[in-house]
């Protein structure tokens, strides 16, 4: 069952909440404004933050979201938009959820562990459950009433693209009728400091992306996804990405979006910052948007992850 369609897309990015501001930022093509934040030891970091949300969306009224962190709210907002703003309707049985993260709820881990270092006997029991990698995916599933498959995958920026294949496989196996693939991340000084290990000039971004996959009818189809080229010992990132690009077979003039994908790839990091778990999702949404609202019949995705693998995909009419 290879006819997998994109039924909807959603985005939260440093440009704002929703695909509209994301598209505008892509069209402008310039880096969004950065803010300087001070972390431990007085060190400062430049980040691209998601602006404050206007109003209170319906999903925030769900008790599950009351104590949720920003990463969960980003994931939920993107998911809701991908579902066409109909996340509140009944009937999401059969909907699978795959949430991809790199740092995940590391902000909660930092807050909780800081309390532990001060005095473990007074560390807050409210913080610990939100430190768990699958907290955002659990909140999304609970709010939507989706009680089926719900996986959280940890990896680098590439994981979202790999998760599209897992979602397609779940549908092929009949385990789900449709599947939300989400990538989400929240930034703070710990992620900024950690991100600089991979590249000194990295600016941390944050947000989420969601693609709702199903059997259609949809906007566009998932055409192909390459093998994941893992950065094993002796395999450089450049070598891995050369294999990805060769396998992808990008046509001349095809718009390609990604991160670190090499020549001809529109690098989203320059606009939004390094969204880590959201990065691959942003690239996929940009590609889907280029097909649906642009003149392209196909658009590519090419993502070189920081520390696991490179991967590519093509979406098209």
């Amino acid at each position: 069952m290879n006819g997998i369609q994109v039924l909807g897309c959603g985005v939260v990015s440093p440009a704002g909440w929703g695909i509209g501001p994301f598209r505008t930022a892509m069209e402008n093509g310039t880096g969004l404004k950065t803010v300087e934040e001070t972390g431990a030891g007085g060190r400062t970091w430049r980040m691209r933050r998601v602006p404050a949300r206007e109003g209170r969306p319906a999903w925030m009224l769900n008790p599950r979201m009351r104590r949720s962190g920003l990463i969960s709210q980003y994931a939920m907002a993107a998911a809701w938009e991908a579902l066409g703003g109909e996340g509140g309707r009944d009937g999401w049985e059969g909907l699978g959820v795959i949430c991809c993260v790199m740092g995940g709820s590391v902000v909660y881990s930092r807050r909780f562990y800081t309390e532990v270092l001060e005095d473990p006997s007074t560390a807050s029991p409210l913080l610990f459950p939100e430190t768990v990698f699958n907290a955002p995916a659990s909140h999304v599933g609970a709010v939507l009433g989706a009680g089926g498959r719900n996986d959280t995958l940890v990896g680098d920026q590439s994981m979202f693209v790999a998760a599209l294949v897992q979602a397609a496989d779940w549908m092929r196996r009949g385990e789900v009728k449709s599947c939300l693939v989400i990538g989400a991340e929240e930034a703070d000084w710990t992620t900024a400091e950690a991100g600089r290990v991979f590249r000194r000039e990295t600016v941390s971004g944050e947000g989420a992306a969601a693609i709702w996959l199903g059997r259609g009818p949809g906007l566009i189809g998932l055409r192909r996804v390459t093998e994941a080229q893992v950065y094993r010992r002796g395999v450089t990132r450049a070598e891995a990405m050369a294999k990805v690009r060769a396998e992808l077979g990008l046509a001349d003039g095809m718009p390609v979006f990604g991160s670190g994908g090499g020549a001809g790839v529109r690098d989203l990091e320059t606009v939004f910052g390094d969204g880590r778990g959201a990065m691959g999702g942003w690239a996929c949404v940009a590609a889907a948007d280029a097909v649906t609202s642009g003149g392209s019949t196909e658009a590519g995705v090419c993502v070189a992850g920081s520390n696991l693998q490179g991967i590519g995909a093509v979406l098209g009419r």
Binding site: G141, E247, A313
Partner: protein, 414 residues
């Protein structure tokens, strides 16, 4: 190309396990753990890995990890940078790899791992150094790269010479079972003929303090399914299973440790940390795993329960088993090994799959700790003393924070 899939879903492929390695507080490897599970040895002791003097409780099931590592394809530099969780995973994989006799030829073999915290001990060091309460900042790059579970996955591939792809499932305490289950599905649906799967987690101060803050840790003894139970005990460990199609195993003439017959996964949206009191999602996973194998409760002889020893978990699971098994509940033996080795979080599901393989092959049932009055919700017989019994099918349950629920059905290989 991963997608489009190169083949349609065919008749389900039979999936067997030809290699299994395990590390827990009971010991390093199959023999020590089989002996412990068979006799119900309790491996808890005072926590020595970090300071617990300011916490409510102070006991856990720590692994006595050898200083050296098994001989693999890792360089000395790679070995030197490995942290505790990765080392346990490597030991488990080494045993499994040797048992299965797979070649280290760079083949593209998928790796599916489950973990809740990867190399968390390094994550803690990173934060301590960053805020200036321990360590120096020179080691920060290594801490960042080696804290993340990607590193443990890459180390495993370098150690044994295989090439991925990689999937790292972080579904809290169900992660290990999800990893084995997903690997099973990859082979069953014909997507791959071989998969390496496993789960792992090391004890860390952050996670220990988290469960302590929730008052989920037992201040006495972890006694799953006892009426007077008062909490869980944390442990650490890893298990790796090498899974392949039956056809592949028979072609190689490989010894078969057991067959994976079914897998079910579902999500409990009741609460982030508490199960639905009726165990709805647990019921769904047990049903799904058995439905996949085309069998009913009457054909399952033993359930390795998630059985953490908390009031809420064991009550909900007992209810789910009772609802699922109906009249067969009075016959199906049930136990939880968490009274022996503690709750291994991301490692639990994979380790308990291996405990079932041991019991299936050896003709015995894993023993659960506890002598007190069972919870009245337990309408099933608890295995509380060494029991020799040939069972053809065992079900193992794993449930986690976020409502992640998974069940894996295993069969004896005659």
């Amino acid at each position: 190309m991963q997608f489009p899939f190169s083949h349609a879903v065919r008749a389900p492929v039979r999936v067997v396990i030809t290699g299994a390695g395990v590390v827990t507080a009971l010991g390093m490897g199959w023999e020590a753990n089989a002996r412990g599970f068979q006799t119900g040895t309790v491996a808890f002791g005072p926590v020595t890995l970090f300071d617990v003097s300011r916490q409510r409780t102070g006991r856990a099931a720590e692994v006595r990890l050898p200083a050296q590592l098994p001989s693999t394809g890792l360089s000395a530099r790679q070995e030197a940078r490995m942290e505790r969780a990765g080392r346990m995973l490597l030991w488990a994989a080494s045993e499994a790899w040797g048992q299965a006799g797979w070649k280290s030829d760079g083949a593209r073999i998928p790796l599916v791992l489950g973990t809740t915290s990867g190399g968390m001990t390094l994550g803690q060091e990173f934060l301590r150094a960053a805020v200036g309460v321990g360590g120096d900042r020179r080691g920060q790059p290594t801490r960042v790269t080696h804290y993340q579970p990607q590193r443990q996955a890459l180390d495993l591939m370098d150690a044994f010479g295989f090439g991925g792809p990689v999937s790292i499932v972080a579904n809290a305490c169900a992660s290990g079972a999800n990893a084995v289950g997903e690997a099973f599905e990859w082979i069953r649906s014909g997507r791959s003929s071989r998969v390496v799967a496993g789960g792992y987690d090391a004890l860390s101060e952050l996670v220990y303090a988290g469960f302590d803050a929730l008052q989920a840790l037992s201040p006495t003894t972890c006694r799953p399914f006892e009426a007077a139970r008062d909490g869980l005990g944390l442990g650490e460990g890893a298990a790796v299973v090498l899974m392949e199609s039956l056809e592949s195993a028979l072609d190689r003439g490989a010894p078969i440790l057991g067959e994976v017959l079914g897998y079910g996964a579902a999500t409990d949206g009741h609460h982030l940390t508490q199960p639905h009191p009726q165990g709805d999602a647990a019921l769904a996973t047990m049903r799904a795993a058995c439905a996949q194998a085309g069998i009913g409760p009457g054909e399952v002889g033993y359930i390795n329960a998630h059985g953490t020893g908390t009031v809420l978990n064991d009550g909900a699971e007992a209810m789910a088993i009772s609802r699922w098994a109906g009249g067969d509940a009075e016959r199906i033996r049930v136990s939880s090994v968490k009274g022996s080795i503690g709750h291994l979080l991301g490692g639990a599901g994979a380790v308990e799959v291996v405990a079932c393989l041991m019991g299936l092959g050896g003709g015995w049932l894993p023993v659960g700790v506890g002598e007190g009055q069972p919870d009245p919700a337990c309408v099933f017989p608890l295995v509380r003393k060494p029991t020799s019994m040939r069972v053809d099918r065992m079900l193992t349950n794993s449930f986690g924070f976020g409502g992640a629920n998974a069940s894996v059905l295993l069969g004896r290989w005659a």
